[in-house]
């Protein structure tokens, strides 16, 4: 590990991407993630990379499609309204099985909403915001150090499975500064991209990258192939943090920024003799169902805390499968729950 630096989350994502070998960035500015584009504009020329401020989010995601088709490690980033604009391209990338990384530093909605932190794009990310039966890997870091590590990881996962990986943060993670330690060298896992459209040199058959399959038998086979890939990823790539769950009176499910608040709540509750556990999904898709199943018999109840009206709640309920009640507490509009609010909710549930 190198020197400890104090850096902004957004800048760390950009630096991590460059360290992971990403040499192509296409984006369009939007608060609260514009520092990613700033950083790329400054740094990409220094590493012979390409930075393009596209004319729109839609153009940017299609540039991603192009660069990924040619086998390049490529990144785009935006925030909620911009990610909505990218959905068509995201679906095409899923259909064409292209590896690429998309960052969503989520802000509150719907519509233009506001610029403050939220987790209201959970459904869009994990249930398919674009059309068609597709999945993308969704990583939810909760610290600046994790933004670094998971950005590198995102490129590796994408290349390994030829899939789109999203890093989902929020305005706090993007804007905050924390200590980060970069490795001297990244572990880059990138299989041979012999499918890429790199020019035949008249020595091989044409490679074709496409998402159009007019013949129904062919398309159904393609659909099955995608589903098998998603099953393989579900088998191999689930990441979850479980904390304090043994003998817990209640287990809280939370991801990203909210999980940090919960860790403080756990300490507060301890002083009052209440044992609170935490299950923090790190991959939102694939969802860590087994972690919930493992602890389903332990607590009196589960509580899901999110910065939305209750989205991951549905996946928690599916995983707990009726074994215990699953409660919900959420704030919206860029508001955050205080530790006291959450503790009061916990006490209310355990009453």
């Amino acid at each position: 590990m190198g020197e400890k630096l104090l850096m902004k989350g957004n800048e760390v994502i950009a630096e991590a991407a460059i360290r992971a070998g990403c040499r192509h960035y296409f984006g369009y500015p939007i608060t609260p993630q514009t520092e990613i584009a700033h950083y790329m504009a400054k740094k990409m020329p220094e590493v012979d990379g390409t930075f393009v401020q596209a004319e729109s989010e839609i153009a940017a995601i299609n540039m991603v499609y192009g660069a990924a088709s040619a086998g390049a490690r490529v990144l785009t980033s935006s925030s909620s309204p911009g990610i909505s604009l990218k959905q068509e391209g995201i679906s095409y990338i899923a259909g064409a099985e292209l590896p690429a990384v998309v960052v969503n530093i989520v802000r509150c909605g719907p519509g233009l909403g506001g610029i403050l932190p939220a987790q209201c794009d959970y459904f869009q990310a994990v249930k398919g915001g674009g059309h068609g039966d597709y999945k993308m890997v969704v990583l939810a870091p909760c610290s600046v150090q994790e933004l670094y590590e998971m950005t590198v990881e995102a490129f590796n996962i994408s290349d390994k499975y030829r899939i789109l990986t999203m890093i989902m943060g929020d305005g706090i993670l993007g804007q905050m500064m924390e200590a980060v330690e970069f490795k001297d060298k990244e572990d880059i896992i990138s299989p041979d991209k012999n499918w890429a459209t790199t020019g035949t040199q008249m020595k091989r058959e044409h490679n074709v990258v496409t998402s159009i399959f007019i013949n129904p038998e062919v398309l159904e086979n393609h659909n099955h192939k995608l589903q098998e890939k998603y099953a393989l990823i579900t088998e191999n790539e689930i990441k979850v943090e479980t904390y304090n769950c043994e003998n817990a009176d209640i287990i809280v499910a939370a991801f990203g920024t909210v999980a940090r608040i919960i860790k403080n709540v756990i300490k507060m509750a301890e002083k009052e003799g209440i044992k609170v556990g935490l299950i923090r999904p790190i991959t939102l898709w694939p969802f860590p169902e087994r972690a919930f199943q493992k602890y389903a018999d332990v607590p009196k109840a589960f509580l899901t805390v999110e910065l939305n009206a209750g989205q991951m709640l549905e996946d928690v309920k599916l995983a707990v499968n009726g074994k215990k009640p699953v409660h919900f507490y959420g704030r919206m509009g860029g508001m955050l729950p205080t530790q006291q609010e959450i503790l009061d909710k916990i006490k209310d549930i355990l009453k």
Partner: protein, 178 residues
């Protein structure tokens, strides 16, 4: 030092509010503490007030957004109005009394009124006002070490501005001893 210091620094855009917080966080990190720095990035930034939340702790930082603070450093009246009530009982408020005109309403906190902008002006550079106020904060709380504050200046300031560091440290000491 308390196990966790939660500091809000607030004032107008351009007073070095965000960089003051960043210096503090950097120094805390060099002191081997857990730190976080979060700027206001809301619409109020446009031509108006700026603030940042800094946490310096012996333990990993939970929410970087503060619901209350152990110390408030304010460099204008509107910021005092906005944050005065957030300081915990027994906490500390440090004001730039050259710019904050009204009296503090709280009686349950330690108050330090320092004419930082006036002192900085006498030094010949208004941009030292934020450092003067940090001097008092550091002297009263030991939230970071003076040595690592100087190191933080070296890390945060671009090379071409390193010639200013001796003056910055002089400003810090003026604040410490005020």
């Amino acid at each position: 030092m308390m196990a966790q210091q939660e500091i809000i620094i607030a004032g107008f855009g351009g007073q070095g509010i965000l960089s003051a917080g960043r210096l503090l966080a950097y120094a805390g990190m060099l002191d081997n503490k857990h730190v976080s720095w979060l700027p206001s990035y809301g619409p109020e930034m446009r031509g108006g007030t700026a603030n940042c939340h800094v946490t310096i702790s012996d333990e990993p930082v939970g929410s970087p957004i503060l619901n209350s603070s152990t110390a408030l450093v304010v460099m204008n009246g509107p910021s005092l109005d906005k944050f005065e009530s957030m300081v915990v009982s027994g906490g500390m408020i440090i004001t730039d009394s050259s710019l904050v005109e009204r009296d503090i309403k709280r009686a349950d906190i330690d108050l330090f009124e320092i004419p930082a902008t006036k002192i900085a002006s006498d030094m010949g550079n208004l941009t030292y006002a934020n450092i003067i106020l940090l001097g008092k904060l550091i002297a009263r709380t030991n939230v970071v070490s003076k040595e690592n504050f100087e190191e933080a200046l070296k890390k945060v300031l671009p090379e071409k501005k390193h010639y200013m560091i001796p003056e910055e440290m002089k400003a810090l000491e003026l604040g410490m001893n005020y």
